[in-house]
Amino acid sequence: MTSPSNAQLREILVDMVMARTQSGRLWNLQRQGQVGTVAPIDGHEATIVAAVHALETEHDWVAPQYREPLALRRYGPEILERFMLYSLGHPAGGHIPEPIRVLPNQISLGTQIPHAVGIAWGMTLRSEPGVALVFFGDGSSSEGDFYEAGNLAGVLNAPVVMLCVNNQWAISTPVHQQTAAESFAAKAAGFGIPGIKVDGNDAAAVYDAVDEARSRALAGKGPTLVEAVIYRLGAHTTADDPTRYVPPEDLEAARRNDPILRLRSQLEELGLWDDDAQAATEAEAMDLLDKALDAAKAMPLSPDAVLDHCFSADTQRLERQRADLLEAGQREDR
């Protein structure tokens, strides 16, 4: 097991600050009607960024839920570019280009966990030296897919890291109504695999846990379930009003434990971060986001793109529908 170096921790903080800055900007853009629903990242940065920094991007796959994209910068600038397309509702937002080993957002909760197990299994069949890391929420852990996938991963000894991002809430449902289990890590016993619970606001701890899980997986020792305990600092999404259900005192306490403040002060003490670094990173984040958004807005889209990529080639029915659709367009143009 290797702990992250200070240089790595600094890279992690950069990505964390970028993610939070961009998430806040997107929130505002949503309010202005410029992008679709946004799921803010506040509070999740250390867990997602540090986990991904423990991976080898060339070999390791990431299967996100939906809150992660802004924190997956390490996999390349294309992630942000595609996420802006996604946020606009452009179909190309789902196409993360080769050879980037990141799946697009998953809306159907828990369904990406079997995919990750399948990828991990497939990599062993092809003797590829990688793992699949799958993110899912405390809420998603209640879906049958989580359990079926964890159980299969255990039986197959698949090189998968199952990372439960326990932000204490699933929309309005608190963890104690999600499960009576002692922890989400405790669910690993049902799969016969190790379960580790870490402080998800501690970037180094998350890095270590994922790094260890990854090493185990690569050594042929199978899957690990990691629970990262954090707190959702924002709303569930732009469509949600958390004041209806989040106790203000809990939120206050959680804010004092903000993962960014924590890593910042640690790096500030080491002289690796300061207000200028913060401001510069925020400015760059805004700039990157605006550029990506502009590029996304400039991406062309023809109406009949709605019919593309359903199948590898149009069926007779799709040919007829394409003709219909183009005709309807012409009617409107008239």
Partner: protein, 335 residues
């Protein structure tokens, strides 16, 4: 059985308000009614359909479940066996796929499997339908798939009054009912809703517009679009009838036959993809019942045969007034 709205006191409500008030009324009326689902209690549902129920009826009867659609549906079977009247919410119809083995294999078959030992007095509510730029699987129209699962009734109201009348009837019904609520209708459909008791029987279609030249057959939010199209065409001198199926199971075959025989021409509108959509069933039924009265083929206006698309493509996918009007004109022009 249906109150003519003229004779009763009414309130102007959105479909969402009508649903919420009906849930309140039915829970007050029958203490066996329990509400379960994701975020239905303290949060009052992600659309506020269950707002106030938790405060009024308490945590025993209004229950937030874990995110487990299969067990939400599956538990309703047990609750019904134990003598309760469960009203479950699936947060979006697209996530009923997670519960399909319980819905199709269990909820729908409890009565048949036990040959009537148990009454599956189960209502499953779920919002669905496009036009509001939701993420994937939030908009999908899956009614045709459910219609092929024998044992489920399927209510798809198009007005606020019907939302009340059909929901009350569904909850009181001894058969399981899938009650589908159009997202665009929650706030986008409003109208006079009878105060007090109001029941609309399952299986009785409604003529939403009178007309003689052609009938548009629709259900749920597409009735709204069909009515707009009919009104537009009326101003051009065309007499377009609109038939609102209200429930697709049971299907009011007689009402369809009467309308189509009278008009001789028909258009069916649905939001689901074309292949295997419920419009096909309506067309097959028309062919069975009144082939000889048809003066032209029945047109279908549908979504296309692709998954429900992302926001920027939605408007090219979802049937709109223009496409309905074009289909009506086309059908009327045919020899």
């Amino acid at each position: 059985m249906e109150n003519p709205l003229e004779d009763v006191a009414t309130s102007d409500l959105t479909m969402l308000q009508a649903i919420n008030e009906t849930l309140h009324a039915e829970m007050a009326r029958d203490d066996r009614v329990v509400v379960l689902g994701e975020d239905v209690a303290r949060n009052g549902g992600v659309f506020r359909a269950t707002e106030g129920l938790f405060e009024k009826f308490g945590e025993q009867r209004v229950v937030d479940t874990p995110i487990s659609e299969a067990v939400i549906a599956g538990a309703t079977v047990g609750l019904a066996i134990a003598g309760l009247v469960p009203v479950a919410e699936i947060q979006f119809l697209g996530f009923s796929y997670q519960a399909m083995h319980q819905l199709a294999g269990q909820v729908a078959r409890l009565r048949y499997r036990t040959q009537g030992r148990f009454d599956p007095s189960i209502t499953i509510r779920a919002p669905f339908g496009g036009g509001v730029r939701t993420p994937e699987l939030h908009s999908d129209s899956l009614e045709a798939q459910f219609a092929n699962m024998a044992g489920l009734k399927i209510a798809m109201p198009a007005t606020a009054a019907d939302a009340k009348g059909l929901l009350a009837a569904s909850i009181r019904e001894p058969d399981p009912v899938l009650f589908l609520e159009p997202l665009r209708g929650y706030r986008g459909i409003r109208g006079d809703v009878p105060d007090g008791e109001h029941l609309v029987p399952l299986g009785v279609a409604r003529t939403a517009r009178e007309g003689d030249d052609i009938v548009i057959i629709a259900w749920s939010y597409q009735v709204e679009l069909a009515c707009r199209a009919a009104d537009t065409l009326r101003s051009e001198g065309l007499s377009v009838r609109v038939l609102d199926l209200r429930t697709i199971v049971p299907l009011d075959i007689e009402a369809i036959a009467t309308a189509v025989s009278h008009c001789g021409r028909a258009v069916v509108v649905q939001e689901s993809c074309e292949t295997g959509g419920f419009a096909s069933e309506v067309i097959a039924t028309i062919s069975d019942e009144c082939f000889w009265d048809l003066e032209a083929p029945v047109a279908r206006v549908s979504g296309y045969d692709v998954p429900y698309p992302v926001g920027m493509l939605e408007d090219h996918y979802v049937p709109d007034e223009a496409r309905i009007i074009a289909a009506v004109r086309h059908t009327l022009e045919l020899a």
